[in-house]
Amino acid sequence: MLFHTWTFAVFFAVTWTVFIWLKSTRFSNIWLLIVSYVFYGWWHPYYLILILFSTLVDYGVVRAMDRCTPGSRWSRRFWLYVSLVNNLGTLAFFKYAGFIVANINSLLGLLSLNLVVPPPQDWMPFGWDYLLPVGISFYTFQSMSYTIDYYRGHLPMEKSFVRFATYVAFFPQLVAGPIERASRLLPQFHSPRSIRLPDIYSGAWLFLVGLFKKLALANYLGIFIEQVFAFPDDHTTADLVSATFLFAWQIYFDFSGYSDMARGIAKSLGFDLCLNFNHPYMARNISEFWQRWHISLSTWFRDYVYIPLGGNRVGVSRIYLNLLITFVISGIWHGANWTFVAWGLWHGLGICVTRFLSNRLDIRLPGVLSTPAVFLFSWVGWVFFRSESLAQAGYILRRIFTTQWGEFHVPTLMILLVFIVWAYQCLCEMRHTRALLQSPVTQIILGTAMLLYLFLGSASGGAFIYFQF
């Protein structure tokens, strides 16, 4: 069930109406849990088994930790490992097993060993399908944050299973984030629900912006990009340049559009989800890019991977190693392909190099060049991210840097739309123009323009890119 479909419109109309009726009663969380499971089961009822299993294990693990005698560090740690193994094991099996098996088989082939590991499809019991559950990376990370934070003593145990299960499965952010921390979202299921009119207005605005990003921008850019990436040989180098440039924007519009819609929907139900994107292409350095791009994931990796590895409290070379490890894991989180590893490595190296240049050699780009430079850097990274294989990424980069560009076929309207968004974000970043953008007249013009454009010109729909992660 996608946010920009009629099915969701009917689903949400029913959900919201009943929720308003139940919001002050103890049934409000039960209702949210039921509709969240309906929302998730809509893709495939079999997904519900997995999410329920993951939820039960993490709920039970924290209860078990709670029963451990004070000071029994090892037994608490044991239960934490149970949670980690369960979540990471589920993720590894459903998301990475095929990739791992393929690589092992390639290695066995290279070593001329007459052995083949069967594909994970063959491991499934009772003839069940081997499916990648939508959004598994998001809810496992969300659930893990609860057990880790409880283990660290950062939050109390959640006594109610319904509340915890609703936190894990809360439908607005279930399949593509933002990845909410238990410490931030769980208390919102405790507090008496109040839905204020301003929440509904700003929620509707967020939804409109997200819908515009998805339908009018991401889907539109996707038409050209898919064609070019499907047949790179049949397109000019100028088209490859355009498609890779546009993909940087497509993935931003697609993913941040989903986050905006998720936040808007949650707001209209009285919940506050965290900001996930903050004009990432306005960043002045790569570190800042990661403070603006998929904020909920980058802070998750910072708090649960980078800092436990030692963070900034270790020697310089170890800091660089920690950064590389964190970014490579972050790359793998996005998908089971070497292209994602390369993308993570590219960003890790970028951060290490810029950190070295600025901290050790005191070399920094002048302000006017820094933002375009960060965009160019991320642009190259997106080539790896979007390509089917490292070979394709190499082919595209080689052509861009070594051949005549030829004729551009990218539609002028696409470039114009991207330019308008870019100009808007530039104005947002400047203190003296923010007030102008925030004036009611500007908002009315923007809102009306987005609404009319959606009616007049948007392309046919498609699934969100980040669902596959």
Binding site: Y201, L275, D303, L451, L452, A459
Partner: protein, 390 residues
């Protein structure tokens, strides 16, 4: 409990946050301004795209699914005379599948002018069938009280279970936007909920119909975005519209049919009697009237027209009985007779068209130019029709 993580994912203080937008005042402004635009734009567009003044106008084949244009033309058609109008509603038989627009039933009636007091308008659409015709009249035809109509009924749509939409195997149906989406089950129509809901939305939101008109009439039936990314007919793709100004495309609307349409008219290769095309008499698997979906739609349509107090006359046929074996012909005659009795019982004036000479048919139901002339003559001589005209 510590809340160390409570704000752990917020941005650095020196990075400006996105603007918080959307207040009640803003939403009222957006809704009012969008509503004004939605109401005004299609109206302004009608001024830019006037209805052509032309005899024997019909909706061009390429624009068959442009229901906004159909309604606009039927509403505002300023004919070549000031005579009151009679709209002839029906499928491709009325529209004139094998003939040019000056040789259709309406054109021949205009030429012979039975009753002398009327101008006949071709309100047929190519590709219709009774279930879709019912939808067209209910949703896209500007029906008003005492409006004069001739409703042509083509019983060919009951001649086998597939044509009658009885088979459960999915069919690629024409004019699905005119079908009932949620109120009646049509077995071979298996659209997803999304498509059905989109059709209902478009049906009740005239602005969407107008947008669809722009797409059909100017952008090769594509959205503006899909049109700009059209990869072209050649390979490697040359994206012919990538740098074309969409507004310049608005000049290219061809509301008239081509003068020498190679597919239609007496000079067309298709304009030949059925037996010259290798067709032979055949047996038909008529669907009983009681269980026929198409017949139910005909009944519903007649009830609807009566309820709306339209002044209408029903023309049954003319099916090509020469193409049916004896048994099928007898069954067809029985269905026509029962329909005629039903119409008489409802007090609806009607005529059972006599079978035309064999060489005046292009196939099972479509007359050739001479066939339409004969049909117009039959009407002009029919006492019930002449009585209705008075």
């Amino acid at each position: 409990m510590t809340t160390r993580n409570a704000q752990s994912n917020s941005s650095r203080p020196d990075i400006p946050l996105p603007l918080e937008m959307g207040s009640m005042k803003v939403w009222i402004g957006i809704i009012v301004s969008a509503a004004i635009a939605v109401m005004i734009l299609p109206g302004l567009w009608k001024l830019r795209e006037p209805v052509p003044e032309s005899a024997n106008l019909r909706l061009p084949y390429d624009l068959s699914k442009d229901y906004w244009l159909y309604r606009h033309w039927m509403n505002k058609y300023s004919g070549v005379t000031d005579l009151p109008r009679i709209y002839i509603l029906g499928d491709s038989v009325v529209w004139g599948e094998f003939v040019d627009r000056d040789a259709t039933l309406s054109a021949h009636l205009n030429a012979s002018r039975p009753g002398e007091r009327f101008e006949y308008i071709n309100a047929g659409i190519n590709g219709l069938y009774p279930v879709a015709l019912q939808g067209l009249v209910q949703h896209s035809f500007p029906l008003h009280k005492s409006q004069r109509l001739i409703l042509q009924i083509n019983l060919l749509w009951m001649s086998n279970p597939e044509a009658d939409l009885q088979t459960s195997k999915e069919q690629s149906l024409n004019h699905v936007a005119l079908l009932p989406q949620f109120t009646q089950k049509i077995p071979p129509y298996k659209a997803a909920f999304e498509n059905r809901a989109g059709i209902i939305w478009t049906r009740h939101f005239p602005f969407s119909q107008w947008v669809q008109h722009l797409q059909i009439a100017y952008f090769k039936n594509k959205s503006l975005q899909d049109w700009t990314t059209d990869s072209g007919a050649s390979w490697p793709p040359d994206y012919p519209n990538a740098h074309t100004n969409p507004m310049s495309q608005m000049e290219h609307f061809k509301w008239m049919e081509p003068q020498d349409d190679p597919s239609r008219g007496i000079h067309s290769d298709r304009h030949r009697p059925w037996f010259d095309k290798g067709m032979a008499p055949t047996s038909m698997d008529w669907v009983p009237m009681e269980s026929s979906l198409q017949f139910r739609a005909i009944q519903n349509l007649i009830v609807f027209l009566k309820k709306k107090k339209a002044d209408f006359f029903v023309l049954i046929g003319p099916l090509n009985a020469h193409m049916m074996d004896a048994e099928s012909r007898a069954e067809c005659a029985a269905i026509e007779r029962r329909l005629s009795e039903m119409l008489t019982g409802m007090g609806v004036g009607h005529m059972r068209a006599e079978t035309l000479p064999s060489d005046q048919y292009a196939d099972t139901s479509h007359p050739l130019s001479s066939g339409y002339r004969s049909l117009a003559d039959q009407l002009a001589d029919n006492p019930d029709f002449l009585k209705w005209l008075q």
